[in-house]
Amino acid sequence: MEKRWTSLLVMLWLVLGLPAQLLAQDCNLSLRGQVLNADTGLPMPYAGIIIKETQQGVQSDEHGHYQIERICPGEYTIVCSHLGCDHAEQKLALQRNAVLDIAMKENAVTLENLVVTGSSNKKAGTQTSSELSGVELDAGRGMGLGESLKRLSGVSTLNTGATISKPVIQGLHSNRILIFNNGVRLEGQQWGNEHAPEVDPFTAERITVVKGAASVRYGADALGGIILLEPKPGRQTPGIGGEAHLQGYSNGRGGIASGMLEGRLAKLPLSGRIQGTLKRAGNLQTPNYYLNNTGVSESNFSWSGKFQPEHWVVETFYSRFFTQLGILRDSHIGNLTDLNNAIERGRPLQDGAFSYDLGRPLQKVMHETFRVKLAHALSETDKLSLQVSRQFNRRQEYDAHRRFNPLPETLDDPSIEFEITTWAAELNWDHQLGRNWRGALGTNAQSQVNTVDRGALIPNFDNFDWGLYWTERRFKYGSPWEYEFGLRYDLRHLHVAEQGTNNLNEDRNFQNWSASLGVVYALNEVWKLRFNMGSAWRSPLVNELYSSGVHHGSASYEQGNPDLQAERGFNNSLTLEGSRNDHWTMALTSYYNLINHFIYLQPRSEAQLTIRGAFPAFDYNQADARIMGIDWTGDFTLYKTLHLESKASLLSGWNRELEDYLIYMPPLRFEQGLKWGFNEKKQADHPSFVRISALWVLQQKQAPVTDYAPPPAGFVRLDAELFHTLMWGKQRLEVGISVSNLLNTEYREYLNRFRYFSAEPGRNLSLRLKVPFNFT
């Protein structure tokens, strides 16, 4: 929790007051000072200053001055808050009258980024969320977004082999989750189970997962939750700095190099950043064999610029993501007989060998994002911002089998190619109503064109979305209650054109409301309760409406249903949070979510016969569903710097109409770790640690019988990690060594669609080095 403050520039002057008056216990002490803007040095009026322990508080006057009287001697935490600034927290041992000047950093809310609003407020916001930053993010992000987020409780992944990994939040994934990369809603081809999110986790400094349907601020569709990737805020001091990452992996013999360079001018409030990542890895290895053609090659690049004259911010951001993913050759099958043969074998035909070659089947995915944002501070509390973005996504899939008799010039053509272009605009007004209500009112519009250049699985389409939202939050320091509500209206127009040689030429309209309500009640200093309820909806996607064709990876024939209605989710969650300074923290969330008209694939009783043989056929269907579960996370200090870290998630998905389980729901996961910290005094911000953890996953017993193979057995996997910060002269070096699957256990994950064909990768030793640098 405290990490956040470390990133702030909180300057403090503690000037001892007049000679000691009385050391007696009489409560006559006073604390006074001035609140200043760290950037401009100007006084900040109307900031709230609170002594956390006693709840004594005042507001700074128009010149930023404040004074708190009648304080008993003791140790206190002084909290200063101001809309548009991060809260500043300072510990203080008060024995005599003191002067404390507080310099506050304007935070992301004001001027950085629209979406950050939500997550910066997160600490005080009502929704259940968890975040990944610092060492924990560094350790996982080389493995992609999905794998990094697995470190959070309640988040799992839906995999297609080891290289394609999609985040699953409380049992929901793909288009039921929204991903925001630097404020832009990711619009790629998220509908496919084997379509991984097209983002480079190295662009983010923090990744926040907001769980549950109350996504009013971000858009309809997010029945499962939201993932926010936030870059480091722009550089605030003149000079040049950055960071370099080098990572190496033993399994797949992979390497990653990522670098970021940023600078800010001294005379102009202008800053800029460039960032890039290169990644290359070869065939992965399970404990007993190699997985042929499971290499990956990725090259990503981004830049951003920010101009910040007084009261204004102009920001630009561009990123380009390009990945080439090899797909296990043995997973590419012709028909049901082939699939049954492969399942019977349970492993690839050959033991395979190591190679960096990327052969067919292969995916090539390119994603470009460009955004411009303009923000203006109307007053100390109100901001207006406008963001315009463009995204372009090209997905090319190469089947194992080239077509027969290819013309020489079409020899390397993909078998499937989709291109989608998205333009979006958002206008937002952050405001304060009265003293304690803060909120946002805004509107957004999006226009999208998708062309299918090869393959006829889905039709060409274009759609237009428009939304209007309003959220308000009441938050008052000192009050145990906090409230939040939000309301949203969305409409979507979908036009469907050609699919293969058919011209469907159909228009569909969907529109509806979303709403959310949240309450937080602090029982005392230690315990806090959060209750959230919300309702969101999602219009059926083009693949759910019009899919028609065979998926080779799963050897299934999928048929869309143009009559599908929108899904409507009702989400309820209750979280109990507790934290006792350095002793322990915990959070226990229970949720109960109903999704009406939940869209799923219903197996047909008869296989679809084609000239390639029989394929199991699935129809998109809808029924009322229920997903409920418990997420748990805790950290307990056992002895000095020895911590017990504990995480668990339990979930149950039920189709209420068929009275059967929902497919692909994560089984019970339970993770326990021991972490021993050292070197904490020398490197307080980046303390070193050693950790050993055990992941225990049960067999999924709650699975429908319609699966091709029963869910795999449960397993226990051991992981170990060492992180150490060293100084090389004045240069800080952060070194991490981790071993996943320490015992080289052979296991399979239920949520990996390739569990039919192979085991999960074996032991992996990884080394990583992070070098932050700074020239001023």
Binding site: G334, H401, D453, R454, G549, I611, G613
Partner: protein, 179 residues
């Protein structure tokens, strides 16, 4: 001076996305996914040649393939010659030449039931292993049965159960009447 030094690269990167936008290869939609639409079986024996087909012109969805019933004479020596066609194009394309050209990567498998006798492949691929486009068999007594023809791609021909490996390119089960 510092400003000037930074201005150029800044300008350069600001302009970059407008240069690096989509390069759409406007070949138009290319939806010819179907590789094989037709399996044709040519039986020669008893002094005559008969051909039976399995045809699925509209691809994976839509209508099911139309598979003709095979009629053969009892107690007769036959040779079977199989060809694969793509009849979605005009003129139709003979995929068999491709199969022959990449003979090492292909294997035709037979599975017979009832009164049908499983044909025995008589041709070899470029590596001297079974290919299966050409085969021979002798029918037995009259009766009914089936014959399943499967064209495998990248099957492991050295495997004991070669037909249980690889990826199916085409498959059809014909009803057979021996009389």
């Amino acid at each position: 001076m510092k400003i000037n030094a930074l201005k150029l690269p800044l300008l350069a990167i600001l302009v970059l996305p407008f240069l690096g936008c989509e390069k759409d290869d406007d070949n138009g939609p290319d939806n010819e996914q179907e590789l094989i639409t037709t399996i044709a079986l040519k039986f020669t024996g008893g002094g005559q040649t008969v051909t039976f087909t399995a045809v699925d012109k509209d691809g994976d969805g839509g209508s099911a393939p139309v598979i003709q019933n095979i009629n053969l004479k009892a107690n007769t020596d036959y040779t079977l010659s199989i060809s694969f066609l793509d009849e979605s194009k005009t003129p139709s394309e003979d995929i068999t030449t491709e199969v022959k050209a990449e003979s090492n990567d292909h294997l035709v498998c037979y599975a017979a039931t009832g009164a049908m006798v499983s044909p025995i492949a008589s041709d070899k691929d470029a590596g001297g292993k079974t290919l299966g486009l050409e085969s021979a068999f002798k029918t037995g007594a009259a009766g009914a049965g089936t014959l399943k023809i499967t064209l495998k791609h990248e099957a492991d021909k050295s495997s004991a159960n070669a037909c249980g490996t690889g990826e199916t390119d085409a498959e059809a089960t014909f009803n057979v009447t021996v009389q």
